[in-house]
């Protein structure tokens, strides 16, 4: 339903988004994940027509954002980052303002108001001034405004930022509910949030897409290498680093001293299993292995690897 073609945005000399392309289908909940400044919000702003791309285009159906900006804005509901609202308005006035711009009035507005109040659980605050509502309510008011015209596409920029854990759970379940019938594209820099809410993850870093798939697909793609954790005593750090000379298939990623012991992180190709050789090497050098375990790669490792935020100590990849 949304087709992004080679979308780029430059701010002066800075390339915020660098020729990204992807497509999104109806009924998907897609997480747009990236570190702060990776280009997530800029991309969402281009999709919603707030800023124009330097090059490339966004297609929704037979419309595109450059030639048919107003038509696309009619189809999309958008919750910007930080959820700006008119604090002096009452909730129903604010929703009426949104509805009016979208040419919804009379009975149609009454029905739309009932629907969004029910879906966003705003029953208790409809006649309250927005400035007097809690942050969780404000977030739901923003969502209700984005949904007043019952759009097929919802774009949510960091929808849970600043909420407490209970409010996060509420918003998350609301987004999941909405995702049953709408295309929801939500951005976040919080990995757990994305993992808990979405069907598909697109990871962006330095303006480029570095991964695209379900959480399981991303993990299995990264499973080419196995991580091994060792705790060894009766040795020296140099001897551990020299282990690669005997066992070239090993990559010593990190060595740290912990009292008399050394904590060692190793990596090797999943197709091999050099644990026996490691054990024999330890015996030959009179090392005492107090712990050896294979560690699973999780989405966080993948995200940190892909976005260059991994800190592997002295042997950073």
């Amino acid at each position: 339903m949304i087709q992004i073609d080679n979308l780029s945005k430059n701010y002066g000399d800075v390339q915020a988004v660098d020729s990204i392309s992807f497509s999104l289908s109806d009924g998907e909940i897609v997480g747009f994940l990236g570190a702060n400044g990776a280009g997530k919000s800029t991309t969402l702003k281009m999709i919603t027509g707030y800023i124009s791309p330097t090059s490339g285009n966004v297609h929704i159906g037979d419309k595109n954002i450059i030639d048919d900006c107003i038509d696309i804005q009619k189809m999309v509901g958008y919750l910007p980052e930080l959820n700006p609202l008119y604090a002096e308005m009452k909730v129903h006035e604010y929703l009426k303002f949104h509805a009016s711009i979208r040419e919804i009035s009379g009975n149609e507005f009454t029905e739309a108001l009932k629907r969004v109040v029910r879906e966003c659980s705003l029953q208790g605050v409809v006649h309250r001034t927005i400035g007097n509502c809690s942050k969780g309510y404000k977030q739901r008011i923003g969502l209700a405004a984005a949904m007043i015209h019952d759009p097929k596409i919802l774009i949510l920029d960091e929808p849970v930022t600043g909420l407490d854990p209970n409010q996060i759970v509420e918003i998350r379940s609301l987004i999941k509910r909405l995702g049953r019938e709408k295309l929801v594209l939500m951005s976040s820099h919080i990995l757990q949030e994305i993992q808990a809410t979405v069907d598909r993850i697109i990871i962006i870093d330095n303006g480029k897409i570095v991964a695209d798939g379900t959480s399981d697909e991303l993990i299995s793609d990264a499973q080419g290498m196995t991580q091994l954790y060792l705790e060894i005593s009766n040795t020296e750090e140099n001897s551990i680093q020299d282990m690669k000379a005997t066992l070239p298939e090993l990559n010593v990623k990190k060595v740290s001293k912990n009292g008399e012991n050394f904590n060692v992180q190793l990596e090797y190709a999943s197709s091999a299993d050099p644990r026996k050789e490691i054990f024999n090497h330890a015996v030959a050098n009179s090392w005492v292995i107090t712990e050896m375990r294979v560690t699973e790669k999780n989405l966080e490792d993948i995200f940190r690897n892909l976005t260059g935020k991994i800190d592997n100590g002295a042997t950073n990849e």
Binding site: P80, P84, I101
Partner: protein
């Protein structure tokens, strides 16, 4: 048109849900009333020229003050992103906001009609036509200053800076024909024509010249147009 009216209603609602509009209307009426009445009974003439001289001076500060937040506040709150991603043209946003500011000025101006009623009660041989054209002139001048101040508001997200820029530009329009002495004679005609006071003085004498109307309409149209361009320019920065 629907979108213009929606923005217009929102802005007017915003004026009247804060003390701003009430303070403006009361203080505007008091200042004009005070300066009008201390002279009106002294000069002993049955016209409102005194009022037509005072109101433009009061406008210089009041109009930038009430218009300074029309766009800059949206920028500072971030709500500009909300309205700019709705299916509405920037032109409609600008016109809706402009009309809200203009209507508030007209309400303030309407309050000064009490002086006209006073004139009708105590005066003789009143030139009602001059009063009528004078009020038309003041309304149009209010329209020009609102358009200028709206433009100033679109330049920044800081209301104080918008206010200062607004005052600087309206003061320039107001002062132009008073600075002719410093101008080369070849430019004085043009500068005088660009001055708001030059056109207003014609109207407050009872002359309703098409050139004056075209001047006011052009300046309003010019500033609304560049304000629209400024709002649109966010897409390309």
């Amino acid at each position: 048109m629907n979108n213009i009216m929606t923005i217009f209603r929102k802005e007017l609602h915003s004026f009247f849900t804060s003390p701003m509009a009430y303070i403006f209307l009361v203080v505007f009426a008091l200042i004009n009333g005070y300066f009008f009445n201390i002279q009106f009974f002294l000069i002993n003439e049955s016209d409102l020229r005194v009022l037509f001289g005072i109101v433009p001076l009061v406008y210089l500060f009041f109009i930038p003050a009430i218009s300074m937040g029309l766009i800059s506040r949206e920028k500072s709150l971030g709500t500009i992103e909300i309205i700019s991603t709705m299916p509405i043209l920037e032109r409609d946003i600008v016109i809706g906001k402009y009309l809200a500011g203009f209507v508030l000025i007209i309400l303030g101006l309407a309050a000064t009609l009490i002086h006209y009623l006073t004139l009708c009660y105590v005066g003789t041989s009143i030139d009602h036509g001059a009063v009528f054209t004078g009020y038309i002139g003041l309304a149009l001048l209010g329209g020009v200053y609102t358009a200028v101040s709206l433009f100033a508001s679109s330049l920044t997200d800081n209301q104080v800076i918008a206010f200062i820029i607004g005052i600087a530009i309206v003061l320039l329009f107001f002062m132009m024909d008073k600075l002719l002495f410093f101008m080369p004679s070849s430019m004085s005609g043009v500068v005088q024509f660009l001055s708001t006071d030059f056109h207003l003085s014609n109207m407050s004498r009872g002359v309703l010249d098409t050139r004056n109307l075209i001047y006011f309409a052009s300046v309003i149209g010019f500033f609304l147009s560049i304000t629209t361009r400024i709002l649109e320019s966010r897409k390309w920065t």
